[in-house]
Point group: C2
Chain length 200, copies 2
């Protein structure tokens, strides 16, 4: 196999769900199709990180300073849905029934991996809560660490005069939001329950 | 979804076996991993067509003027295996039991698609046969058009004083070489039968 093809195949095989055989098929396809198409994909990949950054306010994906949600005056800015990753915002938006804002933690508490509150995007959330928010919706994952993170945040803003809720357990045990269908996620959001410290 | 991500997802979904959902997963992965990794993949893709061309002699993939096989004096240059696509050479080489050369047609006869003998890499094969070849192994696909192409080439070199053989039907009906396991392909090559015009 020519070395440049080998390098592409090796890199493709690091993608999720792409084994060595699939990577080989994809690499050969990229070599066999017109050069202009493969170069176009390369160009698009180069622009990906260059043009897509994080929203100054909420931390989700944004092309400029603010994301679509934070930049939309029609959305309810006093309701903030807290998620672990930028991709979770895209998943939530597929449901089309949430009209509030988001806050992306960029992780979740994980004692094993040494991720404490300081490693999460919480200082910015403190400022948002101080500036005035009616409701915080905890949409961290239903994993052990995601639950612990939800509990931690509920405790952190217990006395901040903000309503705290948790999306309902339509989310299967151990499930990452990223892999959920939009209906389950929509339902979980609609059936969210008020966070009453201690009872959940 | 940010537009640059949308463009990547759209292009990825044109790859074989990659539907819109998988393309989305791959695109998000490429956006979530360190920028340097995504840029490295983009760079490798850019070099793919730039650095990998076709062999001057046989038409298979080559990084410089000649491919590995044509450039290897230890291989038997008087045996030439005829395949449809450059990728078929890679598939043949996985078997490790063939020590001759190749000739890539870059297609197969297809009346429906308007592909005639002039569209195939046959003028170069004429010159190789004239220069002296002992055996031509027809390794075109077991599709209807692949069979027709094998028949056409057998007839074309009927009086050229060259032995003509066809790889055995270990190749399943309608099968493309690209999707075969190496054992089936090795066996088909070992069991190739002499081309006796009219009998096959
Ligand atoms: Zn935002
Ligand atoms: Zn060659």
């Amino acid at each position: 196999m020519p070395a440049p093809l080998g390098r592409v195949v090796e890199m493709l095989s690091t993608l999720p769900g792409v084994g060595p055989k699939t990577a080989m098929r994809l690499g050969l396809n990229l070599l066999s199709r017109p050069a202009s198409e493969t170069v176009a994909l390369a160009d698009a990949l180069k622009l990906l990180h260059e043009q897509v950054g994080f929203c100054d306010i909420c931390g989700c994906f944004a092309e400029k300073g603010l994301c679509q949600q934070c930049d939309d005056p029609a959305r309810e800015g006093d309701t903030v849905c807290i998620v672990e990753q930028p991709v979770d915002v895209l998943m939530m938006e597929r449901g089309h029934n949430y009209r509030g804002h988001y806050h992306v933690l960029h992780g979740r508490l994980s004692p094993v991996d040494g991720v404490g509150p300081e490693e999460l995007n919480l200082a910015a959330l403190d400022r948002r809560v101080e500036a005035g928010i009616k409701e915080l919706i905890l949409a961290t994952s239903a994993t052990v660490d995601g639950e612990a993170t939800a509990h931690y945040i509920a405790r952190r803003y217990r006395d901040a005069g903000v309503r705290i809720s948790r999306i309902a357990r339509g989310v299967p045990e151990g499930g990452e939001l990223e892999y959920l269908d939009e209906h389950t996620l929509s339902r979980a959001l609609d059936q969210r329950i008020s966070w009453d410290n201690g009872s959940i």
